[in-house]
Subunit: 394 residues, 2 copies
Amino acid sequence: MDTLHQSFTVKFSYDVFFTSALFDPNNKLINDFLTGSNLSTSIKKILFVIDEGVTNTHPALVSQIKDYFIQHNQTQLVQDILIIPGGEPVKNDTRYLDQVLEAVNNHGIDRHSFVAAIGGGAVLDMVGYAATISHRGVKQIRIPTTVLSQNDSGIGVKNGINYFNKKNFLGTFSPPVAVFNDELFLSTLSDRDWRSGIAEAIKVALIKDQKFFIWLEENADLLAQRNRAAMNYQIWQCAKLHLEHIRGADPFESGSSRPLDFGHWSAHKLEYLTNFEIRHGEAVAMGIALDTVYSNLSGRLSTEESNRVLNLIQKLGFELTHPLLQVQQDNSPILLGLQEFREHLGGQLTITLLTAIGKGEEAHEIDPALVKKASEILQELNQQTAHNFSSSIL
Amino acid sequence: MDTLHQSFTVKFSYDVFFTSALFDPNNKLINDFLTGSNLSTSIKKILFVIDEGVTNTHPALVSQIKDYFIQHNQTQLVQDILIIPGGEPVKNDTRYLDQVLEAVNNHGIDRHSFVAAIGGGAVLDMVGYAATISHRGVKQIRIPTTVLSQNDSGIGVKNGINYFNKKNFLGTFSPPVAVFNDELFLSTLSDRDWRSGIAEAIKVALIKDQKFFIWLEENADLLAQRNRAAMNYQIWQCAKLHLEHIRGADPFESGSSRPLDFGHWSAHKLEYLTNFEIRHGEAVAMGIALDTVYSNLSGRLSTEESNRVLNLIQKLGFELTHPLLQVQQDNSPILLGLQEFREHLGGQLTITLLTAIGKGEEAHEIDPALVKKASEILQELNQQTAHNFSSSIL
Ligand SMILES: NC(=O)c1ccc[n+]([C@@H]2O[C@H](COP(=O)([O-])OP(=O)(O)OC[C@H]3O[C@@H](n4cnc5c(N)ncnc54)[C@H](O)[C@@H]3O)[C@@H](O)[C@H]2O)c1
Ligand SMILES: NC(=O)c1ccc[n+]([C@@H]2O[C@H](COP(=O)([O-])OP(=O)(O)OC[C@H]3O[C@@H](n4cnc5c(N)ncnc54)[C@H](O)[C@@H]3O)[C@@H](O)[C@H]2O)c1
Ligand SMILES: [Zn+2]
Ligand SMILES: [Zn+2]
């Protein structure tokens, strides 16, 4: 009997909204979205799950949400708002996943209802995963509250939790139905979390958008001083470039090419080596520095452009490298990381390097001797700067 | 700042192959598939998970698979072949899900490697779910071994496990990379499992394909007598119609219209009421009978056509109805099932009924009095036939 061929396409679409004071009763944005997508006449439910780091710093949030849905009662708010810890612990322990699944079950959230997550990338990843596997997918709304989640992780299509001690071992590709970036959440971020997410903007500018890189150079001081307007533009442009990339090529990553992971191969390893005491963005800034200097040493990128990248990273207040990124001998942890990454890709490496600011190229071979040299250069530069800092303090 | 709009399509494609003796060393089919999809030069792994009901009845299978991959060694067989119970228990207890996840982890199955499930619909649903959530999706191959899984559940895009005592509470939409239907597996099915899956063919013929319905009428005796050629054609045509439906409309079921669930609203309830002692296909045959007679009583379908449907169902050896489908008063379990189904759809019912053999239509209202009448008619018919059977036996 003849082979039967199956082939179809599935369309995904969602908007990323930018706003201020999302739950101000006069802000109609989320209500308009919820009622607009309500095709039938029946009342839809919405279940909120919130990052404890957000409720701690925005103590009025829960009552604001309740008031909002008293005024805008076309959508039925589940009164039990679920508050869960923020950061990596929420992805490490399946107890929190089970809490969300139980809430979905107890409150009768179905495929026509919404689960809205408010929080950093970790909470959004876990709740997005829970929403995706419940009833083969209930509608997920993301309300990111960190720079990294507003400009990168919260606006994309991936989710996940850690399992068997492995980062994102469980997860899916599953777009949200909407993302609401509210600038007011960012005011309560620590300096580290404010800065950290900017690394993703440097990354995407370097591989895709020279003009944005120049904008970052010109606004580095404002960003470092926590200027809100500069931050808003940075987030908007970075999100835009990420969204364009996702829709352009291979949204659910069926191939091995992942240019948005520029600077990430060593960053991922470093996060593990430091037991996640270093922030993702901080590690990415160091990974970018390493792959930039490597691009220069391997003859791809001019020294002048390489130095501009390192200057920008430092101007924003990032460290250029970390002692654990130093290559001592052949089995340095970071070279082992490269080896693991090669195995993970099924034997052939695909790593993005730079040929110019704004232009990436894929490499399939990495020379360990040059990685060693690049890490030494960065170690030295970092010490000089630390020295400068301390002498300027003295 | 302007709202950013995201929109993209993702293409899914896979083949459903029909074969005999898939793991005969001279059968190149699966090896050709595995090596053909191997774009890079690196060796890919394949992990097998098998339904115990299959290994019990095909005791040579595991060694056949091992021999096959000794000969066809471009793909690296994971030597630990995982054997798990068949049927609903494997979807009820997350221990089995964890066994598959652990195997994926221990054997380093990544997004470029394969997890192949051999078994009935329950095993395929659970293993497909495990494969989908591992590393955001490792490649799943399905090798269905029951009639129902070869003509319907195994060739589609859904998977799932039961959770909180709810059928398919956890699951995703996630197409396989290939399906291999091997006719030889069917020879060891019980008569009930052989017959059961044919209900899905009646269903899809009734809503989509009059010619196929006539073919089923003409071949009902052969099918009941376990004729292999008739079964092969029935599976092929039923799978074809299901595949066409999935690619035609709304593959990941974002709307509420689900014509392939014709006859299923009462069937799902009946499966629960009988604690799954009744087979899915047996329940579907009864659900089809009920909705067919309802279509007639509500003036949609001619009595002649309605009788042809009931005749076919009986000729194949199915019961027309079940005592638990009888409507006694207003709160009969089956009417409660209708109510639950309405709530599940968010307030508005969408149920497919028949206007002719081969033609369905959506209804949004169901009259409980007519459901009662339809169930009484079927109860009576069933008793008469039981009486006929017993008198012919005497
Ligand atoms: N899905 C993706 O595509 C993707 C991409 C990149 C990173 N990630 C994931 O994102 C996670 C990191 O996300 P992150 O950088 O947003 O950090 P995070 O989620 O770990 O949060 C960091 C800390 O900030 C707190 N916090 C959150 N919002 C706050 C606010 N407005 N004010 C004060 N404190 C607040 C949290 O409680 C937490 O303690 C990682 O798990 C990473 O794997 C996912
Ligand atoms: N994913 C979907 O789209 C979809 C659609 C319909 C049904 N389903 C699911 O499929 C499941 C029912 O599947 P099923 O009807 O294939 O039954 P099943 O998987 O429950 O298997 C029935 C029995 O047959 C045994 N068995 C399997 N193959 C055999 C063989 N070749 N010889 C002898 N015994 C064999 C099994 O071990 C089991 O004991 C249900 O869980 C249902 O929810 C899924
Ligand atoms: Zn990143
Ligand atoms: Zn069915």
